[in-house]
């Protein structure tokens, strides 16, 4: 709301721009946050890290130390079952949190890998306690975000167990669209940073099925697709296909 203060102008304004649309916004910039608070957060919470395409941010079995928030790029998280197969648990866009499932465990239960060159904030979990002193409401916000994740996965569960391939892909595209829009990107035109394989894995579909669905959507005039590039022509019809509005809403809470 207020202008950044005298000191550290550049740094703070940078933070304001990049944090405005972040999941942690309520935490990083609580209503009435003064420059002091901002500086505290800038200095204490955040440790930026850049990971390039294919590089792991963390791996299953690593000791749990931090949670992460995407600044730019995109991160795929997955858990692997003992038989070697993996299950994609999410695609994380700028402003979204990941690594929360690790809180309850000693070690990270899943892995996070960059789908493209990405920048993330690493937030050492032990600092949450300390920061909560100076920023009461921090833990409450974390609780709220976790609750949102629970709701998100409950919705995903419905998508996977009740919906057809068509409905699942439509729902994913809408989810991405909404999330891009929220962060200030185009809601109708974007590049998919994940492969068809990842999409199929996430949605519980074979790669071939995903590909066929894209082809069909294109043929039906719903969208134009050229490999990674997607342009949505008829969001309304996509919504009808995906079914209940409630699902969009909740799937968009990533």
């Amino acid at each position: 709301m207020s202008q950044p203060s005298k000191t550290n102008v550049i740094k703070l304004s940078e933070a304001a721009v990049s944090c405005r649309n972040c999941s942690m916004y309520g935490i990083c910039t609580p209503p009435g946050a003064d420059a002091n608070t901002m500086a505290l957060l800038e200095g204490a919470i955040k440790k930026r890290r850049v990971v390039s395409r294919g590089e792991h941010l963390f791996r299953a079995g690593d000791p749990f130390t931090s949670i992460y928030c995407v600044r730019s790029g995109s991160i795929k998280t997955y858990v692997n079952s003992d038989d070697g197969s993996e299950q994609v648990t999410g695609f994380h866009l700028p402003g979204e949190l990941l690594g929360l499932a690790g809180i309850c465990a000693e070690d990270m239960p899943g892995s996070g890998v960059a789908l493209e060159t990405s920048s993330v904030c690493e937030i050492p979990y032990e600092r949450i306690d300390i920061l909560n002193e100076s920023l009461p409401g921090l833990k409450d916000e974390l609780i709220r975000l976790l609750s949102q994740k629970v709701l998100h996965y409950q919705t995903l569960t419905m998508l996977l167990s009740r919906k057809s391939a068509e409905e699942r892909l439509a729902a994913l595209l809408l989810s991405l669209s909404t999330r891009f829009q929220r962060r200030g990107f185009s809601s109708t035109e974007f590049y998919l940073s994940m492969s068809r394989n990842d999409i199929g894995n996430y949605l519980g579909l074979a790669v071939e099925t995903v590909s066929r669905m894209f082809t069909r959507f294109d043929a039906d005039g719903l969208l134009t697709v050229q490999r990674k590039y997607v342009k949505l022509h008829d969001i309304e019809r996509l919504k009808v296909m995906a079914g209940s509005p409630r699902i969009h809403l909740q799937m968009a809470q990533a």
Copy 2:
């Protein structure tokens, strides 16, 4: 650990028995909790409520006020999509929490209904804040439990998108078995309080498929089933069928 104190002996000892194996154990009975603390919790956190079979504990759209913990019986939670169909999101046994997905919203996103006559603790969410003062660590515990839920649903996601009907049912039976055992019930012999319909809905299978799987498991000597009654004969083989041990572990965190 210690004996209940002079005052309120009966009440406290009751609490000790029923809370020992509860999800909230770490909260209700923090290490070193004295009688004072116990009394505080007994009086402040808990409001018991009895719901009979088919009765709703809360409904989607109700204002969010409390989270709940099952004392006895079992509660089914579900979300309903706009088209009227419902998706079962969980079966909650004694000692397990429900209603956590509501924290992030104004209103309850889903409903909770008793599968049999059940007793639950209702915990007004606003009291968490107050209680956290006298019981630091309360919010941390809540965060841990929420994280566990996230992990649980990620695992359920894998079950739904990658596994066959056989694997899904095996995993559910093992989950129930583990959870019954943890609370002091038999791990090999129990009554299913939920209908085949509920099971099918939860696992993303048609009722008929669930029924056929039970019949097949019985024929294969894995278990004996007579409607609601189930006796597991070969847990080891069930585990093999359900696949990775990691899945059991995480599915058992309800």
